[in-house]
Amino acid sequence: MKLELTTAKKWIALFVEKLENNMAVLNELDTAIGDGDHGTNMKRGAEAITAAFAKKEPETLADLYKTTAFAMIQKVGGASGPLYGTAFLDMSKAEKSDELELGDLLQIGTDGLKRRGQSDVGMKTMIDVWQPVSEAAKNNQLNQKVIDDALAKGKDLVATKGRASYLEEKSKGHIDPGSQSSAYLFESLIEAIGA
C-alpha cells in the first residue's frame, strides 16, 4: 500500500498528540537509563511540527516529511532530533522521486537512523522498533502486535548505543525511551490508516 497525503497528515497529527500527552512517560523511561529528557525533547519537537504546519500547510508527502524533519532537527535538542530528523528527511527525499510503498518508505527511514546513529538492530535503540515495523509493512502485516513485540524484545536487550549503553547490563529490563516514542509513531500510523 501507498500512503495518501491526507492519511500521512493524520499520521503525523496523531503522533504529535501522543507525544504531547505522554511527555512524562517518556521522561520517566529516559530517567531510568538516560538523562531524563526524551519526553521534553519530543514534546518540543511536536510543538515545532504543529507550528511549522500552521505556518505553511504541507502540499505534498515530500513537503510533509521535510517539514517534520526540520522541526525535529531544529527543536528537539537530544539525540532523537538528528535521528528522527534524518529518518524523515531521507523519507522526504525518496518521496520526491517516486511514490513509495509504505514498507519501502519506512525502510528508508530506518536506514537513515542506522546511518545517523552508526547503529543497527539489537543495540536497544529506536531501530529495534523501526526495523521490524518496516518489515511488517513490506509484508502488509503491520499491526499493534508487531509494535508490542518489538518493545518487549527490546526491553530485554543490553544497550550498546546511546546513553543507556553506559549502564551496560543494568540497561536490561528497561524500555528504551526512543523505542517507546517510535511505538507512538507507528501506533499513530496504524490509527491513521485504519481511520
Partner: protein, 122 residues
C-alpha cells in the same frame, strides 16, 4: 590561519570554558563554539553548530564534540556544508587543547593528527 577550531558540547559552559582554556595557549587561533540547546539548556543544536562553523575564520575546521547528539548534529552539518571539517573522536577538552597548541604554531595536519591519535576514545 589555516586551521580553526570548533567546540561542540552539550553544555554552554563547557564550550565557553574550553574556548577560554585553549585560547590562552593559542591566542591567534579562530575558536568558535556551539554549546547547549537554543535556550542554553543541556543538549545540542544544529543551528549553533552551523553558526560556529560559519563564524570560524579557519580555512579548514578541526571539530571536537562530547557525546551522542553533539556528534550526530555535527555529522549532519558536515553533510550540509561546503567547508572542510575534520571531526575527531577524541577526548573533548584534552583533544581540543592538543590540537590548538599545535595549530597555533602552524603544525601541519599530519602532526596534529598524530598527536590526537592517543586521545581517541570514541
Amino acid at each position: 590561519m589555516k586551521y580553526g577550531i570548533v567546540i561542540v558540547s552539550h553544555s554552554y559552559d563547557i564550550a565557553q570554558g574550553v574556548k577560554k582554556l585553549i585560547s590562552q595557549a593559542a591566542p591567534d587561533l579562530s575558536i568558535t563554539t556551539a554549546g547547549g540547546t537554543e535556550d542554553e539548556e543541556i543538549g545540542s543544536s544544529l543551528e549553533k553548530i552551523q553558526q560556529a562553523v560559519d563564524d570560524n575564520h579557519g580555512e579548514e575546521i578541526l571539530a571536537f564534540y562530547d557525546l551522542g547528539s553533539s556528534k550526530m548534529n555535527l555529522e549532519m552539518l558536515m553533510e550540509m556544508t561546503d567547508k572542510k571539517i575534520h571531526k575527531y573522536d577524541v577526548a573533548l577538552v584534552e583533544g581540543a587543547y592538543t590540537a590548538a597548541t599545535l595549530a597555533q604554531v602552524d603544525s601541519p595536519l599530519d602532526v596534529i593528527e598524530k598527536n590526537l591519535q592517543p586521545l581517541k576514545i570514541k
